[in-house]
């Protein structure tokens, strides 16, 4: 078990190292091909004074000669960058010259809250629907659940968001405030945009909307897992032992269905990250997603790379946790 954990962690570190290098290399290539982003510091319009440009280049670590040779992997700046990351220095934004590490301190908790609601929504809804469909396999309920989840999955998240923000949110908020008042929970929860005074309440609805990403996949996984276990020999054994249906479900079916559920959540986590980019952008939540969204629109390469690095760290971390949970749930993996 111990060896399994260590091997998995080393593997994760290696993957992460390669991802970071790849991101760095892509940025270097972009600088080499498209020219220096430091000019953006001056608004990107006029050609700045050479001496000032050199100073700014130094400031952003772009003064290395390798940035002029197309295809050069720029290893020295990469090592420098890693060292800076380790000391907590993530650079500054080109626009407004703010400390990126500080920004992350504000953004990450917001995104985490979003993900908590999204994950709860995804798991809870798909568990209920998947179990329900499995119990009524082949019936009208089964087909309805399937059709509905596929439809929910087919509508892109950002379109659900736009419809919510432009069509539903305002009348709903007005209605709720008329009954419960502006400062109440209900008065805030339906707001079309994030309110930093209510950091939990105003993030529930966007969280639920992000949680619909992958609903069909997840429901399908859970339905399949439950069907497999319900028809399995060991459930027949459990019946033969005279166990009550509730105990059979809890002890022998749900636990055995956990592995596909964990796999599904781990797999969909990366997709929820993409969902977060658009959700936070549209709802104005100051989180990682909006940071990446704005960085892309303002062409701040450093910010895009920091954002993607953080998301890569999270995804790798989640996949390690998923693997460890496998081992915790399945002795066949534990005693491999």
């Amino acid at each position: 078990m111990g060896r399994y954990v260590i091997r998995r962690l080393l593997q994760a570190l290696l993957t992460l190292g390669i991802v970071l290098f790849l991101l760095h290399y892509l940025m270097a290539l972009s600088v080499q091909i498209r020219g220096n982003p430091a000019t953006l510091f001056f608004g990107g319009e006029r050609t700045p004074d050479a001496a000032m440009l050199a100073q700014v280049e130094r400031l952003y670590g772009l003064d290395n000669k390798c940035y002029e040779r197309v295809g050069d992997p720029c290893l020295t700046p990469f090592v420098d960058r890693l060292q800076q990351y380790v000391t907590g220095d993530l650079g500054t934004t080109l626009n407004g010259n703010r400390d990126v590490a500080q920004l992350l301190g504000i953004y990450i908790p917001n995104t985490l809250r979003l993900f908590i609601f999204a994950t709860i929504t995804l798991v809870a809804v798909s568990m209920v629907l998947g179990t329900w469909a499995a119990r009524h396999r082949g019936s009208f309920i089964d087909h309805t659940v399937r059709g509905t989840t596929i439809l929910a999955d087919s509508v892109p998240v950002f379109l659900i968001l736009l419809s919510y923000v432009y069509i539903v949110a305002v009348p709903l908020t007005r209605w709720a405030r008329g009954i419960w008042g502006t400062e109440s929970f209900m008065g805030q929860v339906f707001r079309p945009n994030y309110n930093p005074d209510y950091p939990w309440t105003t993030i529930i609805i966007p969280g639920i909307i992000v949680g619909t990403v992958g609903l069909a996949t997840m429901t399908r996984l859970i339905r399949a897992a439950q069907l497999e276990n319900l028809g399995s020999d060991f459930v027949r054994t459990a019946k033969a032992k005279g166990l009550k249906p509730l105990r059979i479900t809890v002890v022998h079916v749900i636990r055995n269905s956990m592995i596909p559920i964990i796999t599904g959540v781990g797999f969909l986590f990366a997709f929820m990250l993409s969902g977060a980019v658009l959700t936070e952008g549209v709802m104005g939540i100051p989180g990682m997603g909006r940071m990446i969204f704005e960085a892309v629109q303002r062409q701040e390469a450093n910010l895009v790379i920091v954002g993607l690095s953080v998301s890569a760290v999270v995804v790798v971390f989640v996949s390690v946790i998923v693997d460890l949970l496998y081992a915790a749930f399945d002795p066949r993996i534990r005693y491999e």
């Binding site: 028809g231 020999d233 060991f234 027949r236 054994t237 019946k239 032992k241 636990r255 002795p331």
Partner: protein, 346 residues
């Protein structure tokens, strides 16, 4: 032994009559609902099991023997399976008429079952100790620690070495034979009156098969249990069973004491089965095989369902359903020519 049985039965099954046979299955009928059609799987199975005796239920796959055993246990999935008739009497109490709570008490407490493939019949995610102990905890209300102690005793009883350590192991860590012993330990945990073994040795190596059969036989003798041995292999049951019921196309076609059945079969199907067993004294001769394939339960042949494959069939076999005939007091057969086959004239 009888006293303990009386206590247990009296506690959990009201109306039990200890003078009635241990288990009496009478004209049991099971149908499966498949795509709107009702397909008969068991079309009238009848047999009796007395305390301390072993009944072998023999038949090809699809003959309804496993469905019969699961119907006795009450663990058929409904739907698709529906029990449409007959009685299953445990000490004179018709189990089919009991409510689900009573049936659950009967399972494990009075009737237990050992399945063919222990690897899939045991939950891969729980230790064997947990799965055996579960019975004590659910049915007897023992604590986790006490249940584990009892589980170790049971593992010891079925001959698993180093039971103290093995109790925390998971099914995949056992060999095939050991796993089947775990299954047996689990079935015996609550000291049932009846043990159903559904092809308990089919998935095992030949040498291990013999060990498992000896184990079952030993425990049955020690505990004075009734044992139902379900198998497709007549050879396996020859020296362990007392009685035999041969099933074909969902019904019992012959019932007899094991010696009588082997020496003087009264149904052509049994006779053909016996001829198909390789024996030392027939070395060098061609083994006889039964021609044709087992019938499709959705479209059974008219009359006697065995007639297309029967060596003794005549015209009326295709049109008339044969009656239950008894060439001797302890020997019955569902064949128009039972007497003649019994007398070896056909």
């Amino acid at each position: 032994m009888a006293e303990t049985v009386m206590r247990v039965i009296g506690d959990t099954l009201s109306g039990a009559d200890l003078n009635a046979p241990l288990l009496e299955v009478d004209d049991l009928r099971v149908e499966f609902q498949v795509r709107g059609k009702r397909i008969p799987a068991v079309r009238g199975a009848s047999f009796t099991l007395e305390q301390g005796r072993t009944l072998a239920v023999v038949g090809e796959s699809g003959s309804g023997k496993s469905v019969t055993s699961q119907a006795i246990m009450g663990i058929l999935d409904t739907p698709p399976a529906h029990i449409t008739g007959g009685r299953v009497m445990l000490h004179g109490v018709d189990l089919l008429k009991q409510d689900e709570d009573t049936r659950r008490t009967v399972r494990g407490n009075h009737i237990a079952i050992v399945f063919q493939d222990a690897l899939s019949a045991l939950n891969p995610l729980w230790s064997v100790g947990f799965q055996i102990g579960e019975l004590y905890r659910v049915h007897r209300g023992l604590s986790r620690a006490d249940a584990k102690k009892r589980a170790i005793e049971m593992l010891d009883l079925v001959g698993i070495p180093d039971a103290k350590n093995r109790v925390g192991h998971y099914p995949h860590q056992f060999s095939g034979g050991m796993r089947q012993r775990v299954m047996i330990a689990m079935a015996l945990a609550l000291d049932p009156e009846i043990l159903i073994a559904d092809e308990p040795t089919t998935a095992l190596d030949v040498t291990v098969q013999a060990q498992i059969m000896r184990l079952l036989k030993r425990i049955q003798a020690e505990r004075h249990m009734g044992l139902i041995l379900i198998t497709h292999d007549l050879g396996v049951v020859a020296d362990v069973a007392d009685d035999v019921a041969v099933m074909y196309a969902g019904e019992v076609v012959e019932r007899a004491g094991i010696r009588d059945a082997f020496k003087r079969p009264a149904h052509p199907y049994t006779k053909s089965l016996l001829r198909a067993i390789p024996r030392v004294d027939t070395v060098g001769q061609q083994l006889e095989v039964i021609r044709g394939l087992p019938p499709n339960p959705a479209s059974l042949p008219s009359g006697c369902p065995f007639h297309p494959r029967c060596f003794a069939a005549e015209d009326k076999c295709a049109t008339e359903v044969p009656p239950w005939l008894e060439p001797s007091e302890t020997h019955g057969s569902r064949c128009h020519f039972a007497e003649e086959v019994y007398a070896d004239e056909r």
